[in-house]
Symmetry: C3
Subunit: 311 residues, 3 copies
């Protein structure tokens, strides 16, 4: 079993700090040069059993910027799976064709199946409602970039769908290694699952739960999420919540002047476009940060020499 | 806002002449070498919200021949759009992942939205019935290659669907910078729109409108088009027109011996396969010319040094 | 017409031996280096009119390992074909965009149409129930790798769907150049077609037909195949045969200790996963061997110098 990125809880603080440092080095190097030819001899396979254009293009761009090659397959129904092949057999083939792979699959645990059975590193690019660990690392890197993550206490207000938002759950886990305080702003029906409340209690991480958006005023970071229609069986329930909170310029004016507003994207109406050009709006920067973080992950998992980064 | 290729009317004569010259240089260089390693450090994103295999592969091949990298996404329903994301947000991501992009979209103006909001050059790869400006430039280059476009008057007979044929409308605009005379051969119902007749009148460009295919005999260039089924609400209307004109070897024998027959492809029955091997048939050459023109556009928009072209 | 790979019967013994040797050289070279930069200046087009992720990724990985570039199009309905364009016109475009192409098409003979009309080498990546010649060569290479194909008589037991299994039919043709003996183990309804029985009789190649799986005990090679649901009009017929034979560890214990078990994949239940880790199981190795064989074919068809292989 090769080193793989499967879940948020697999990372130690040391590993996270290492990845944040590496991402900074990559970002600086890309400021000087368009390409960093380190993975010229490597092939990345992106296997997307469900579409996620943003995540896929982010990884593919990361691989190209490192000089590598990409093979890709997109579509719910991989041809062989539709003939009844097991996921295991389908994934097994990729070790002959690539040196590292990203797997996106609607089924929880699909990446684990791959990692256990194939000899190349596997990156979980999202498996159902469960995990999307690389998104959480790029969120952490974004906080690190604009706030003093290593030394200060960071107050993060999560707004929206705290129940189903898997990127929130990942980020909570990553933040548990640093000094943070959380404010969860959501309708009662979409509050943080019991499991994560227990997690925070055990780690003695302070948090507040509220329905009141005005708590956003106390935050260093506002992490806004979309209420995901696909999680509701009852469309009426969804309609009730989808515009529950809207962060606009009026709201922003009440917040700390140095707050940063993040969002894992895609967004709907929960962030008004009238704040897109404000300096506090970092949700498009997050996408760019994803590039640096994913480049770092590719480098780290393949264990290549990094001298080229400092040229 | 970066330099972009959005509409046919954005080009001055000087810019067109420059592109034709550059395309000739590229063509000559590719006669000596398989690859021209100029864009080694650049990534092209091809975002095809509707499929167009020919246009997409043409751009991707162009980028590869210049040593560059390609990331691609094809499909009406981009994953995030299907979750309700705006086109603006979807397009915004691409500036983090690529250095230049081609966008094909069923909606008029989609490329303009992109170009206004993102910091990398945008090429309009076709937006609805509206514009497909790079096709027009390769048509112009094809005429330039086989006829004396810079000095002589070129008589072009357009045959078929003059009403909806967007490549015809683009080529009219490009040709307005040179000395041309147009013959529009179509059924009454598919004649040139008022808008373009006024355009020609204002520019004092001579033209003739007729239903009679025999006017093709007077042309230096025969530009044949497919009657596009998808433009007709009434299938019977379409059936009436689809085989209205057929250019075959018999017809060709009546034309000037040095006429060139062009077609933007795909063709149906409007050009008989019995002329495919004739020297006048240039419609497959057009596809090859598209490669040179698209390589030139990529080079020009990215503003890179071109010394490599003359090696 | 360029040199192309269209059918199993086009190969002479000399050509096959040459390809097997070349594949061995490629395999050895890849043991020393990750990439063999020989086709840096070439573009491969993979045109998959029906999906076959395994075959496509295998060719694309092969091209990348040789330093080449790839453009790809996947989907039953190529955009221009859906507008009524002929297959000929669609395929014609590819010669402008690539230096070599792989075509997968549900229609028998599609690759031949391409090869007759375009000026670059064409590789048949599978056309309907008819041919899949590169799969047969990788099967042959697998036998060559583990058995003394050049000198000894190889007893191959084919198990399962001998009637529709196109990879079996190809391998029979390839094996006819070497010394082999065949055992066909299938239900009566899925026995070897008359055409191939005649073929074997003419070539005086000994074979046995039986329903009894115990004949597997006499084989050097067990070539197991999936009963393909898509070949049956009557679902009940399919149900009757799909689990007719199952090769598991119990069965394997009765076979020669040095038997190798092959399968063209995807497999369903005809090979039990309890033998996946046995040294006799070579079906995942086959996929890897496909990489070497496809790299050899690309090299051979493009006729490039091979000095790089021995560095």
């Amino acid at each position: 079993m090769a080193r793989s990125v499967l879940t948020a809880d697999q990372f130690s603080k040391e590993q996270l700090v290492h990845l944040l440092d590496l991402s900074s080095r990559v970002e600086k190097a890309l400021g000087r040069r368009r390409m960093l030819p380190i993975l010229n001899e490597y092939i990345l396979a992106t296997l997307f059993f469900e579409p996620s254009t943003r995540t896929r293009l982010s990884f593919e761009s990361a691989m190209h910027r490192l000089g590598g090659r990409v093979i890709t397959s997109v579509g719910m129904q991989f041809s062989s799976l539709s003939k009844g092949e097991t996921l295991y057999d389908t994934l097994k083939m990729v070790e002959s064709y690539a040196d590292i792979c990203v797997i996106r699959h609607p089924m929880e645990g699909a990446s684990q199946i791959a990692a256990k059975n194939i000899s190349i590193p596997v990156i979980n690019g999202g498996d159902g409602a469960s995990q999307h660990p690389t998104q959480g690392i790029l969120d952490l890197y974004t906080i690190h970039k604009y706030k003093k993550l290593m030394t200060d206490k960071i107050v993060i207000a999560f707004v929206g769908d705290i129940k189903y938002g898997r990127t929130i759950h990942s980020l909570i886990q990553y933040m548990s290694h640093f000094t943070g305080e959380f404010i969860f702003i959501s309708p009662e029906e979409l509050r943080l699952p019991e499991k994560y409340r227990k997690y925070l209690d055990e780690k003695r991480i302070p948090y507040t739960e509220t329905e009141d958006i005005n708590y956003l005023k106390e935050a260093d970071v506002g992490y806004i999420t979309r209420v995901q229609e696909e999680r509701f069986l009852d469309h009426k329930e969804y309609e009730k919540f989808k515009d529950f909170y809207v962060v606009n310029s009026e709201m922003l004016a009440k917040c700390r002047s140095d707050i940063i507003i993040m969002h894992p994207l895609p967004r709907l109406s929960e962030i008004s476009t009238d704040i897109d050009d404000k300096p506090q709006a970092k949700f498009f920067d997050q996408a760019r940060n994803g590039l640096y973080v994913r480049m770092s992950l590719l480098l780290d998992l393949l264990g290549v020499p990094l001298g080229e980064l400092d040229k």
